[in-house]
């Protein structure tokens, strides 16, 4: 029972935190532009408005179900990662699988999203999916190399195990123990968060605006909450993998907040890649970085 309560709270908390972070990031971006920016609660208002729009359209079953896929995929990732180490009630479902499961279950939402986009019949949506999948297949390479290097280096795939191995002070964090793998994973984090220069999926000036181009109203609000949840889940995952996890709630919030600011700041100063440039960059730069640590681990 406690587990169920924890799961519900985790979902709600992650949703709010994700939306709040989104609001903060809009403000930060606005400040870089030299503007005031919106209220930090703007994302909540937007969500509410979208949820309460009185009409919406759909293009068929998959279009209809895609937001569900998205939310389900996001929550699954979220629940597979322990939140606060030492507090076993916050481990949620993480006993059920290891880091490989997390890597693969991340695709659940993406595939659903892609199917919805495909069902919308809009060529821009499909082009965006084609770009997104091509890019995903590239950054997942470096990400998985980094994960394998870390997991093999620590001799466990279980995320709790990975986090527990980092509890001996700040220097035991994987970002210091596996600097190259971490660098590779952190570069892969940018396209995961659709940050520029890798934001080729939602490129408004090229293919407005990618997969959700036909989504409206309540569908869109589901989509956005899925995105917020997924974003938070990825943050927690990265904090657990590279930054020593969180030993209490404060450090969880602080670490995820700081990690969230990294793509926000980077994307303010870069334009987009073209798709093939992005793919090649991801194939070569982060992958070679991560390979350094993998080879180190193998030797």
């Amino acid at each position: 029972m406690g587990n169920i309560v924890s799961i519900v709270l985790t979902i709600l908390g992650a949703l709010s935190w994700g939306l709040l972070l989104g609001g903060i990031s809009r403000t930060v971006t606005a400040r870089i532009h030299g503007r005031m920016g919106p209220r930090v609660t703007q994302n909540f208002i937007d969500m509410w408005k979208l949820f309460k729009k009185t009409s919406s359209i759909h293009h068929g079953g998959m279009f209809w179900m895609a937001p569900m896929f998205r939310i389900t995929g996001a929550i699954c990732v979220l629940l597979m990662v322990p939140l606060v180490i030492g507090n076993s009630i916050t481990y949620n479902m993480s006993f059920a699988g290891d880091i490989f499961l997390v890597i693969y279950i991340m695709f659940f939402g993406c595939l659903g999203m892609a199917l919805g986009a495909g069902n919308s019949g809009h060529p821009y949506a499909v082009i965006a999916v084609s770009r997104g999948l091509a890019q995903m297949s590239s950054y997942e390479l470096s990400f998985s190399i980094a994960v394998v290097a870390i997991a093999v280096g620590l001799k466990t795939f279980r995320i709790e195990g990975i986090v527990e191995a980092q509890q001996a002070g700040i220097l035991s964090w994987n970002i210091f123990r596996f600097p190259f793998a971490s660098a590779g994973a952190l570069i892969a984090f940018l396209p995961m968060q659709m940050a520029y220069p890798f934001g080729i999926v939602l490129a408004p000036q090229e293919i407005p605006i990618g997969p959700p181009t036909e989504y409206s109203s309540r569908f869109l609000s589901f989509m956005f909450s899925g995105r917020a949840l997924f974003g938070t889940a990825k943050l927690i995952l990265f904090v657990s993998l590279l930054f020593g996890g969180a030993s209490n709630w404060i450090s969880l919030l602080v670490k995820t907040f700081l990690l969230y600011m990294y793509p926000v700041v980077v994307s303010s100063v870069f334009p987009r890649f073209r798709t093939e440039q992005s793919i090649r960059f991801l194939w070569f730069v982060p992958t070679s970085l991560a390979l350094v640590d993998l080879i180190r681990v193998m030797l």
Partner: protein, 187 residues
């Protein structure tokens, strides 16, 4: 291929919840990125540091499906009107139109042009007009705040009006769009 049903008559909603909804709607106006006329040039400063419309929760959305507001930034040529109708009908309810410039009110300086329509109101339900040729960004913000007030008061009902009087609007639209090839019902 297209929709073939008449729009349903939207019901009247009242009560506390609707007030909260209206507050949310007023504070999160998403604008379709469609510069239909010369007023669009003043929408760009609107997003930058001096005027910063994002303060009010106003943001640009690239597709009509996700937007709430359509800004008619000036005179409408008949060729554009066709696209604007299409875009407007693809915006999901509730939706609002802000019309910029004198030329949308009564034709302005183009009153005798063969290609620009004079009174936008006959063809699309305008919620807020902003005067001037072209209106300054401050005026546009003023128009937005008027729209927000109308939404909060529950008076921004142009979209309902459009649905209720669809035949009237269609008749007017078809009168000037000689090669009408849009679907009659189109959401």
């Amino acid at each position: 291929m297209y929709c073939n049903q008449r729009p349903e008559k939207p019901g009247v909603k009242k009560g506390m919840l609707e007030k909260i909804n209206n507050m949310a709607r007023a504070n999160s106006l998403w604008v379709t990125a469609y510069g239909t006329g010369c007023g669009a040039i003043e929408l760009r400063p609107l997003g930058t540091s001096r005027f910063d419309m994002e303060r009010f929760g106003i943001a640009m959305r690239p597709t009509p499906r996700q937007a709430d507001v359509l800004i008619i930034s000036g005179y409408l040529a008949t060729k554009t009107l066709k696209r604007v109708i299409r875009v407007y009908e693809q915006i999901q309810d509730p939706k609002y139109i802000i019309a910029l410039g004198s030329c949308t009110i009564n034709g302005g300086m183009y009153f005798d042009s063969y290609n620009t329509l004079n009174v936008l109101d006959k063809y699309l339900p305008v919620d807020v007009y902003v005067m001037g040729c072209m209106p300054r960004p401050e005026a546009v913000i003023d128009g937005f705040s008027l729209l927000m007030q109308k939404i909060k008061d529950g008076r921004a009902q142009g979209w309902k009006h459009y649905k209720e009087n669809l035949d009237y609007y269609r008749e007017n639209q078809k009168k000037i769009i000689t090669d009408w090839d849009l679907p009659d019902y189109n959401w």
